[in-house]
């Protein structure tokens, strides 16, 4: 029958495509033990969704409408389903690649445990994806959830998408790194932003900021298109800044140091330890999706100060701290924006109007979180430091007051501090090692990261035993 044959063929082709994705998910079951819980949930859901899609496709040729318009609409539905499965195809392999043998597993587990200690995010799970870019991204778990839910709706699959899954992409090459992976805290921030539905919550506030700060100078925008892109840009800047501040609250200053390192920001310091603004111009420029790097550092420094970290780190002489301090001092007139013709101060004014809301949002969604500063400020951090520089894994250091093992924030920040400032102390203790050699430093940095991972793993076990988990 004309029309039906074409749909039958298309349904069969899509059936085969979906089956290949399902087979890939199923073949990972032998690796089940190596997958974090969240990844297992995710792959299992995709597998079941594939089965339901196949059943839907099997029935497709029987339901072809004879009415011309309905036929056209029905056939296009198959195309939508196919392209939606293209999307699933792109996500499944990076999840499957990121099993625990290719992950800083104890760091991810510790971050997940820390996230779950926040009442809003109790029971959350992280799904890690390996990505090719040397970058980090939260794969907009809400987007994935919505798309998979839409597919489920299309094919009448009633099982709900696993709740509270945060999908986070990390560069495959950094799978064993601890320090760079402090950036995962920012991506967890995106998950938190979505989970709290802050895009909807803050839309009215962003409207007010636009009306107050930008509307009066709207005639300065050179094109209508530019004008129409402003709400998206401000919304995106708001979210990115939220995630930075969330990350600082979650893991402390090591996030800012990792941020500085991945974007090579301390390279903009001159010999006098000041920023040469002329040559650092790209770091002062916002783009349509992200605030300027130096603006982000400025806001992170302010948050570190607000949380009480600043007085603890400001004496550090490392370049990562220096650039943070220099960015904190930058006047707002230093920054520039991607909308030609529009006065830059209107954007700063809009952001200033939103900043209090942003900080409140971070405080709201991290309420109940111990920022880890008291542990860090106590003698415990010195003990952790002494262990590390002697090549000892600091697994058994316990807070005498609480009786709890030293936490993630202290271990991570002390390790980062050694990496930035005290690596030579470690190397000087080892025969034949040169603190000025990039090769030797790399070797012992990796060792330091391995000790950190081991410490985090041990601490998790001790904590679980103590709580009977």
């Amino acid at each position: 029958m004309p029309g039906v044959d074409g749909i039958t063929h298309e349904a069969a082709a899509l059936f085969r495509f979906v089956e290949s994705i399902k087979a890939f998910c199923s073949s990972q079951s032998g690796f089940a033990a190596y997958y974090p819980e969240g990844s297992r949930d995710f792959l299992c859901y995709v597998e079941q969704l594939a089965d339901c899609t196949k059943a839907y496709l099997e029935a497709c040729p029987k339901n072809v409408p004879s009415n011309h318009t309905e036929y056209r609409v029905y056939r296009q539905g198959l195309r939508t389903l196919r392209l939606a499965w293209h999307y699933v195809h792109r996500v499944v392999k990076p999840v499957a690649d990121a099993h625990t043998l290719h992950l800083p597993a104890s760091l991810i587990d510790s971050l997940q445990t820390r996230l779950r200690s926040i009442p809003h995010f109790a029971g959350s799970k992280l799904v890690i994806l390996h990505i090719r870019e040397l970058n980090y991204l939260q794969v907009f778990a809400g987007n994935i959830q919505r798309k998979l839910t839409e597919i489920a709706d299309l094919v009448a699959f009633s099982k709900p998408f696993p709740q509270k899954l945060g999908l986070i992409g990390i560069p495959y090459s950094q799978a064993k790194s601890v320090f760079t992976n402090s950036l995962v805290a920012h991506e967890i921030g995106h998950f938190a932003f979505e989970a709290m539905k802050y895009r909807d919550v803050f839309a009215p506030k962003i409207t007010v900021a636009l009306d107050t700060a930008i509307k009066p100078v709207i005639d300065k925008f050179q094109t209508d298109e530019a004008r129409r892109m402003v709400p998206g840009a401000i919304t995106s800047w708001f979210e990115e800044l939220f995630c930075d501040l969330f990350a600082v609250a979650l893991v402390g200053p090591c996030y800012s140091y990792a941020f500085t390192e991945i974007f090579d920001l301390s390279s903009h310091l001159d010999i006098d330890s000041k920023i040469n603004l002329k040559f650092a111009a790209p770091q002062l420029l916002f783009n349509h999706s992200h605030p300027a790097h130096f603006y982000r550092l400025q806001k992170q420094a302010e948050m570190l100060s607000k949380l009480g970290w600043w007085s603890r780190i400001e004496t550090s002489k490392c370049d990562s701290q220096t650039i943070l301090a220099r960015c904190r001092e930058l006047p707002s007139s230093s920054f520039s924006f991607p909308f030609s013709g529009a006065p830059q101060k209107c954007f700063i004014e809009a952001l200033d109007l939103l900043m209090a809301e942003l900080i409140s949002a971070v405080q709201e969604c991290t309420s109940g979180l111990d920022h880890g500063l008291s542990d860090y400020e106590s003698k415990l951090s010195n003990k952790v430091l002494e262990c590390f520089v002697r090549g000892i894994v600091p697994s058994a250091i316990v807070n005498p007051t609480s009786g709890k093992p030293v936490g993630l924030v202290t271990v991570l920040n002390v390790a980062y501090n050694i990496y930035l400032e005290h690596l030579h102390e470690l190397l000087e203790r080892i025969v034949g090692q040169n603190a000025m050699s990039a090769k030797d430093r790399t070797w012992w940095t990796e060792k330091l990261e391995q000790w950190t991972l081991k410490a985090l793993g041990d601490i998790a076990l001790i904590s679980a035993k103590a709580t009977g988990a």
Binding site: T69, E70, R72, V73, Q76, G77, R79, T80, L83, A84, H86, Y87, R90, V91, K93, P94, L129, I131, R132, E133, N135, Y136, L137, V139, F140, G142, N143, R146, K147, E150, I151, D153, L154, G169, L183, H186, E187, K197, R199, D200, A203, I206, T207, L210, I214, K215, I218, R227, R228, M229, V230, P231, G232, T235, S236, I262, S289, H290
Partner: protein
């Protein structure tokens, strides 16, 4: 942290088009239920409202910026641009989507009642799929 530019697991802008296509498909399914069973469901009402409010925001003289991006799949820049293009080919669609579909007992009358919305969402899905496949390169070798 930054957008995946290309080759990564997600492509931020193209995702907006896929979200738009899927939302349009959802509307088309509900419209089909309306035609066949006379049901005008809550989800369809919500989609109509979101489309109308997004298109109105683009024309509102008091609102010089257009809609603020939210969780709705009709509010991001790419989505609004596509919505406006399709709206230009479907005059009066804002008015048609602004009122609920009549609960006629006769299927032919319901089909005729739903026809402008079906044409609109069909075209919206079509345009979004086209842009999505162009961006992810599925049409290229």
């Amino acid at each position: 942290m930054q957008d995946a530019i290309s080759g990564g697991p997600v492509y931020e802008n193209s995702d907006q088009y896929l979200a738009l296509a899927l939302a349009s498909r959802k509307a088309l399914r509900s419209l089909n239920d309306y035609v066949k069973q006379g049901v005008f469901d809550v989800e369809l009402r919500k989609i109509f409202q979101e489309v109308v409010s997004s298109l109105k925001a683009t024309k509102d003289n008091q609102n010089l910026f257009g809609p603020i991006p939210t969780e709705s799949p009709f509010t991001n820049y790419e989505q609004v641009q596509t919505l406006e293009e399709v709206e230009n080919e479907h005059q009066d669609i804002v008015n048609k989507l602004s009122r609920p579909l009549e609960p006629y007992s006769d299927e032919d009358r319901r089909r005729s009642e739903a026809e402008p919305a079906i044409e609109f969402f069909y075209m919206l899905e079509n345009r979004a799929l086209h842009r999505y496949s162009n961006q992810i390169g599925s049409g290229e070798l």
